[in-house]
Homo-oligomer: 410 residues x 2
């Protein structure tokens, strides 16, 4: 995490997106996979002008969508030059046909771009239990336009229940060269059936050694996307990919490079921004909840505690109602498994101390309620046992969430 | 679990409650601890005419209420002759004063009944972060009436947000003697702050060896109360106690007794009934969800899978809307950690097969919607990998739950 008291070394790129780094193009079309109709892009390609080093982190579900299984196979070589994504149909729970279809889509994209199919990565999001309409896809792929500003269209094409596209890019110095790191994301929970998928595509023009890229991506995911909870569910399609083109001309970054930490921090910075954007866009959500646990005895304790508090149904409902309910925060902490000493515990809600040394302390309730009516509610718990800290993000639980998620078919 | 094809060996006792077994009395008064006013009993005593073998299972939270810590200390000797319970104030997050207060209440009850304070167990439920008003309790304890039919009053006294009392008793044969096992429970989730506590008090007139009683209680809790999920939260006061009087005159039951299994099954039977009653009474709940996972590779897999499905926010919302959404059931299964083989998976919702061998199968949606409009929705998932099975209980997620839990202070 970047220290807020010093200037951030990461400069936001205006209108930054996944095609902001040098050497990337993207584009999207409406092929007919989204039932909502025309104007809703649903099939996109990200293309790298030269072969890239690639790394990926995938769903922890024991069920893996067919497209994801093919993507895992293609990325195993560590090189990629394109990513094809469709929204509308997830290509999951369709048996072996799904794998054949995903392979065919990679081949279609490879033919269009002059690449071996194994250099094309793939992701799908949308309805499950339904085969991809390959006729539509075969017709659409050749017509997907590619441009160096195409990241914005791709960001829209991957949306399902998202209310807005999520994209950003930063530039920073790496070994004396200016490099750029950008990304797009989707993921909002489930309004429509089985659409909880989180997809994130990152690009950079930095030159990065593959093993280090994979390790840095895993660490960034653990600190950001894995600290994000909308409704606790996991999709068979969750995919996080990064492609590094090397077009910036820096010396390859490896784990023992002097600038390894800068690259790691940049990756975490962009991932944290996208994770928070996903939380803000949670289904029916009106507020983002940011939970920081510090003074923990271990990193695992800090993460378990922050995530459990941010994911608590009762904490989420209390935030929705502007209720400074420390009891629910502490109940979640108590079942998180983190080591705690009741008499050292301090809890703040939007900066107001509500619990100190194991007991609630008097606070002016109306002031706390007013502070909590902001669109972001921060909860800080100090365990005062050690040096580890972690931040988790979530969103409030609203009646709208329940209505959407119970009424859509009947 | 009792095989449903043979007659149950456990005969329900009409109006059965915690005082149905021989040798137990109970009673309750309104002392002023519940703010809702007169007519709401809030302080109760369960009294055994002779010393009992006692066993207990307590909260898994790292935070333990003061009353619970005193109860754990008193039960360590394995003998008890009374239980005192108050509702309204939980005696939690009040520092060392809470322990002193709980000890004093046990002493007051001991004086009333002619018992050593160490033979008195204690539990408290209600608001946290607030000291018990000891003046009120000192005045009230001597006036608590005790009667062999007093279990019903005690069942009402322990209620907080519960809509109805939960009580039952069964009689069965044990070593040629007729014995009775009864119990009461409370626990409904949180409408008011920090009132999620589950309290369960069981009694039996069977003679049971202590170590076996403790092990059987733990097993029964794992198969029932630990398979129950209302909103995933845990209270610092969760308490399950059993007192065995021996008044039935049977030979002491031990782990190697021929009738050990019968006693175990009876304990599980009563606990399952009470657990299901708690699920039915979940805050804002309109339906009970019963999830059975069979064919699992291990007992742990079966329990993890059943509990994760029953606790899924999205499954709960789907049940609320009568939506036969197999995708959400399978998403929960996929993140439960249970071993699965996608192509062997079968899923039934209220008896209707909706997913078979890894793919959704056509079903008449209107029939499924109609079947799901019943007050109980059963979900069965067959993993077809082994012989282990487990059942979990939960309730639907309603707009009312969110409204109650977000609006109560503001």
């Amino acid at each position: 995490m970047v220290n807020s008291r010093t200037a951030s070394p990461f400069k936001p790129v205006p209108d930054g997106t996944v095609t902001s780094p040098k050497g990337f193009q993207a584009g999207a079309v409406y092929s007919g996979l989204k039932t909502e109709g025309e104007g809703k892009l649903d099939l996109a390609i990200l293309y790298a002008e030269k072969p890239c080093t690639a790394a990926g982190v995938f769903t922890t579900s024991t069920f893996k969508a067919a497209s994801l299984r093919v993507c895992e196979r293609h990325i195993a070589g560590g090189k990629a030059q394109a990513v094809v994504v469709n929204a509308g149909i997830a290509n999951a729970y369709v048996g072996e046909q799904g794998v054949k279809d995903a392979e065919e889509i990679c081949a279609l994209v490879g033919r269009k771009l002059g690449l071996s199919p194994g250099r094309v990565l793939i992701a799908s999001t949308g309805l499950t239990g339904m085969e991809l309409p390959m006729g539509i896809i075969r017709r659409a792929v050749p017509g997907i336009p590619l441009a160096r500003t195409g990241g914005h269209d791709m960001a829209r094409a991957i949306m399902t229940t998202d209310r807005r596209p999520k994209e950003m890019a930063v530039s920073f110095e790496l070994g004396g060269k200016t490099v750029t790191l950008g990304g797009i994301a989707k993921g909002a929970g489930m309004i429509h059936p089985n659409m909880a998928t989180m997809l994130v595509f990152l690009t950079t023009d930095a030159a990065v050694e593959r093993r280090f890229l994979q390790a840095a991506l895993r660490d960034a995911a653990d600190a950001t996307f894995n600290m994000l909870t909308i409704d606790g569910d996991t999709s068979p399609s969750d995919t996080l990919l990064v492609l590094a083109s090397g077009a910036a001309g820096n010396k390859h970054v490896k784990s023992d490079s002097p600038d390894a930490d800068v690259f790691r921090a940049a990756l975490t910075h962009v991932c944290a921004f996208l994770a928070k954007s996903i939380a803000r866009d949670g289904e029916g959500a009106e507020k983002v909840i940011e939970v920081t646990v510090d003074g923990a005895a271990s990193q695992k304790d800090a993460r378990d505690a922050a995530r459990t508090i941010a994911g608590s149904t009762l904490v989420k409902a209390a935030v929705h109602g502007n209720d400074p309910n420390w009891g629910r925060v502490i109940a979640a902490l108590g079942r998180s498994g983190a080591r705690v000493a009741e008499d050292r515990l301090v809890c703040y809600i939007n900066g107001i101390c509500v619990f100190d040394e194991g007991k609630p302390i008097p606070f002016f309730r109306e002031a706390a309620v007013k502070a909590m009516s902001a669109p972001e509610v921060s909860i800080r718990v100090s365990l005062n046992l050690g040096d580890a800290s972690a931040t988790a993000w979530g969103c409030d639980l609203t009646e709208e969430y329940v209505t959407f998620n119970s009424k859509y078919t009947t």
